[in-house]
Subunit: 187 residues, 2 copies
Amino acid sequence: MSTPPARRRTRTDAERNRDRVLDAARALFAASGHDVQMSEVARAAGVGVGTLYRKFPTREALIEAVAEHRAVEIVATARRLTGAGDPADGLARFLHHMGEVLADDRGMSEVVEKAMGSSEPREETREALLAIAAELIDRARASGAVRQEVTTEDVNMVICGLAAVIRNAAGDWRRYIEVALDGLRSR
Amino acid sequence: MSTPPARRRTRTDAERNRDRVLDAARALFAASGHDVQMSEVARAAGVGVGTLYRKFPTREALIEAVAEHRAVEIVATARRLTGAGDPADGLARFLHHMGEVLADDRGMSEVVEKAMGSSEPREETREALLAIAAELIDRARASGAVRQEVTTEDVNMVICGLAAVIRNAAGDWRRYIEVALDGLRSR
DNA sequence: CATAATACGGAATAAGGAATCCGGATTCCG
DNA sequence: CGGAATCCGGATTCCTTATTCCGTATTATG
């Protein structure tokens, strides 16, 4: 009989480093998008690349982890919007919130543009985001604030466009949202 | 006194090769966007990379040349739209035409998304595209088909979004256009 | 503390691709 | 035709970056 492995607790410095990496990545991705070098992230985190890779075995994994974080925040806000307040402008508020987030996070705008687009297999959180958005849309439609024939897909396209507009600094994204909402609204 | 250089005519094969490269690039960029390797373009053109690079000294140059071509076509169509027909739906037709083009040319959708966005120094043709679009918008506004306060920038954002929607296969882009137009239209 | 178990840093490696170079064709001109 | 004058092909050079490796340094336990 072999004695059970009896794992040690994960080292505190390891944990600390993981947080540092995540923080650094968040900041860099937000500021410059995802085309940042791993070594740059490591440097910003005050850590060696080796360490970075032990925490996140792949560039993709890091991006994913960071995006996940933001997605959770967005979902939380969205839920708040579905819970309280006039269902008629829940959708409007959601779009504006989305805009605020994306405007401050280039990396996220890249992710959202793709996420709202492709119908690829999405992972949990992103799925949740889509779901909550769908609920907001349903409510808006039910309340008559939005036309009957508006679909979830319609709004997803609007969001995809919003992400692009913001990412390219195409103009005042709040106006974009207004136009889109007017297009969705009942006449 | 030295005799003047007396240039020869450019070789016919050289000219032919240039066309081949351009054609191949057009096809590849349209099908897969701009992340195609130079060697791939060369192969498709039935030419060595060396030749490709003599015609277009840089990847950027090639992309630019190809985009230029399409942009000219679009401008031509746009002019036709400003010339004849109900000024009220010239804008609508323009957007739909844009959609058709972008849907068949991924590379172009990438270019357009950026072009309608950043206010970077644009080169001639792209400038012309913006100008003609602006004219279409002015007419639509003048005819009352579009709200008074709609700006060129508003429409540019819509186009930027359109490009993103198409590039990401986010859904039925025709619906996106309808929503946007409804948002711009007078109530 | 002693020691095993973990984690660290960052040089080295691996790959992918753009751009260059040059010996060998082709084409033009008289 | 007979040389230039031009152009070709594609192996090769250069760079940029992600990812791996391993000798050291740190930390958790008893």
